[in-house]
Symmetry: C2
Subunit: 314 residues, 2 copies
Amino acid sequence: MSEKHAIGIDLGATNFRIGVVDDEGTILKKHMEKVGNDRSPDDIALLLGLYVDELIREFPSIIGVGVGVPGIVEVDEGILYQSPHYPEWNNINFGEIFTRKFKMPVLLDNDANMVALGETFSGAGQNLSNFILLTLGTGIGGGVIYNRKLMHGDHGFAGEFGHITIDVEGHDCNCGSRGCLEMFCSSVGLSHLVKISNHEKKGDFLNIVSGDIKCINPAMLFDFAKDKNEFAIHIWKEFGTYLGVGIASLVNAFGIFNIVIGGGISRAWDYFIDHANAEITKKTYRETAKMISIHRSELVNDAGIIGAGRSVLL
Amino acid sequence: MSEKHAIGIDLGATNFRIGVVDDEGTILKKHMEKVGNDRSPDDIALLLGLYVDELIREFPSIIGVGVGVPGIVEVDEGILYQSPHYPEWNNINFGEIFTRKFKMPVLLDNDANMVALGETFSGAGQNLSNFILLTLGTGIGGGVIYNRKLMHGDHGFAGEFGHITIDVEGHDCNCGSRGCLEMFCSSVGLSHLVKISNHEKKGDFLNIVSGDIKCINPAMLFDFAKDKNEFAIHIWKEFGTYLGVGIASLVNAFGIFNIVIGGGISRAWDYFIDHANAEITKKTYRETAKMISIHRSELVNDAGIIGAGRSVLL
């Protein structure tokens, strides 16, 4: 039997990742590159097409391309309805655009959904029938695996966990609502937590980092926490507590007890996870709390490539 | 072909309802009775058994009994884990208790799940592949129909919508958490909304109703609203707004756009639904908002009987 391969593409808010995957989820070759959010859909197709063509020449065994895109995707039609990170993209038929450009069958889904599939195929979700996936990055991505399948909801809108309300009186969110989970538990959320904090060491911290809250990013807060900076450690505690509030709501809604957390911010795991778990225990039924497990993504940055690529090989 | 019938039982927090159902969801006979929440499981089985025996004598065509119970149910094992309204009941094997008492096959599920099935079989959900059900009563019940099937989650814990957090700084809830949706959008919630309101007509209202907030119930607030009492109308507006916050979170999480609302409080529909819809529009993506429909339960108090009974006949 000749071996078949597929290309998996993870198109994020700031980078895209592309790789060749086999049917066991092994990545044979991969590449990562920055991408601005001012590109047109055709521009993106052109850019990705260069890499796709090159990979197809190198691996004639490639039979299709899976693509995860940041936004709401109608999978059957291959349409991206709306993307928080590419505000100009509305109702774009990427399925058609990519198929034409790549000259290959294309499978399109939301980026977090592809990550969830990756974790199902060969990561933290391998032994879980049901789990909720959260990717913590620029925003919050979400996916639900139920009976080992993705739950898409109506027209692909499932898993917008960043925009569940946790603070009805909270600050305005970009989505038009207020007090959304994403205002606490994402890159944007971390800046917001610094901004609203009245911790006594906040002034010292801002002095060290030049005083501009807009320059604060997760990596910086992670590095300061590693250096035992009291304020940074406090912000991660707040982050974990709010994350626990959000996860408890999701557990109460879905009744799903396994949560997998990925995304760049999960690097700071050791600084927030205990606080998240403590809050989850407070906010769920005692019978439930005992059964909840929070898992760290095993594939980290490769999950999207593996999920997108292996989906094509199913 | 000889016709088959089943008994459907809806065991609520304050009443139980029992009826005989045919395979088209028609109720041939029904009965409702008050039930205290101080009864032991065996007491309940004894009480229900009297009616079951009588109905079986009258309808020898009965082949089984479906029972909806208020609490978290492991369906496969027939176990009630925990019930907010019967705090003494923990890990009760009602499947076994009822089967022994009724001498009939018994199908046990959460009460709101049975209501959701009732609406699927012959109510507001007949033409919907996916919908979220909320019952607004003493507490908030919830069910999810996905691909025309109940979503149970792990061990039956799905649909505890009353305990999603909408106000992280909110008041303590009986569940151990705080700021839960149920603290705003249930009988308990209505009293709470009156208590925290600083509306200028609150004093006048409390004078009329003898000043005791604990005596305020949904029926009273409904009657006052019908009589154009400004404060009662205001409370229903608040109720609707918070309900909208909760529904928007559920829509963002599940990506399910049809919501069916039942339970006793849905009688006040005309006083809260516009406010709920306005809030949902604010709190969901513009592409989503257009597609969301809130439906009123069509079967109202019969939904639980029909769902429980017809499940047995499938």
